[in-house]
Symmetry: C2
Subunit: 194 residues, 2 copies
DNA sequence: AAAGGAAGTTAAACTAGATTAACTTATTTA
DNA sequence: TAAATAAGTTAATCTAGTTTAACTTCCTTT
């Protein structure tokens, strides 16, 4: 597996010396998962944060009625985990499942804690990554309240055209907080509108 | 204004030396705002992140129809800002307004950037704070999709009884993503249920 | 203490989106 | 390549929550 996209990604946030890069690479695990395999399971303790080299995952929650709710999709050049479970090392609220065969760079809890001490710059890296994720999450909350389902779908489609094409429609409906039937209706409206 | 609750808060995440503490205090601004004053205004660039010593704020978004949507409330011992605007120094999506007279510890963008270099431990502090905020935000998205309005209100009331008591009901309705009329109905149902 | 506005309540009419169910179209797998 | 199963569509019926509007209660401010 080729780690260069990962190192390139890191270099957008912090500049590592060659020694730091070597140390970093010595503490990651490269791992392949098959389509449908779980990276994290609800109620297990999440042991890793994962950078995606290739593939696609969904993070979802199964509620008390057994209904699935998609929290997010992740593709190449982004991260996936149950961060709440990872940082507190307590049972996960979410499942993370591969929607395609997926190659990951994994940081285990212990290795990442060590890396933060050995390469303090990584604190900055992850601070910045999570800042952006938090901002995106806040904006999503607002969109969910201030826009109707059709507008939300159009924004999703424009923001993540790759995901819209790769992921089954019923999962996108779940991500948008609507039923698959209603997303189907929206799509046919959008076609007939023009 | 008394900064000791602030230093106590910091010490829950990182241990600062007396010199570091002095440096930190030299780079913050203590500031008072009156009820109804704005700390951040939509479309302005957000210049500070703010720790609340006393008081209460709401963060809200005004949509294209002029409707207000409350993103969050903040009280003592928590933070307020438009983080998206702050980290990118671009126009704010949100307003932050005081609901009571409020005392703040302010970090300006320039001072915080300097502090990150001078006291790298602060990278860790803010990484951890934002990790928790991100996790809470993700959980809120899921609650908004998987629970009905009554359940969401009950969770809010239990999680933030202080805010429920201090903040006008129509703002809480907006935070929950419902109308003030419907929250009023929910409250009367809850009273008559027992 | 009165007046005027802000906040909260109630109820009837309405609507975005859910539910149910029957159907069609893809995609697996045997 | 057929059968089975998963994914997507359509339409009728239903409901959680909105809208509108009239009313009440609570704060301010004078």
């Amino acid at each position: 597996m080729n780690t260069s996209p990962f190192l390139k990604y890191i270099s957008k946030y912090v500049n590592l010396t060659p020694e730091e890069e070597t140390l970093l690479l010595s503490k990651i695990v490269l791992r392949r998962y098959l389509k449908n395999q779980y990276i994290v399971q609800q109620n297990d303790i999440c042991r890793s944060v994962n950078y995606i080299l290739s593939g696609c995952t969904k993070t979802f929650y199964v509620d008390s009625e057994g209904q699935e709710h998609v929290v997010m999709f992740s593709i190449e050049d982004w991260w996936t985990s149950d961060l709440g479970s990872f940082i507190t090392q307590t049972p996960a609220d979410f499942n993370v499942q591969c929607l395609e065969n997926t190659q990951l760079v994994q940081f285990t809890y212990e290795n990442l804690e060590e890396l933060y001490v050995e390469i303090p710059k990584l604190e900055r890296l992850f601070r910045k990554i999570i800042e952006r994720a938090f901002v995106a999450s806040q904006k999503r909350i607002i969109r969910n309240f201030s826009l109707d389902a059709k507008e939300r779908y159009q924004i999703f489609k424009n923001a993540y055209p790759k995901i819209d094409q790769r992921v089954p429609q019923y999962m996108i409906a779940s991500y948008l907080g609507i039923t698959k039937e209603f997303l189907s209706k929206i799509k046919s409206q959008l076609i007939h509108e023009q």
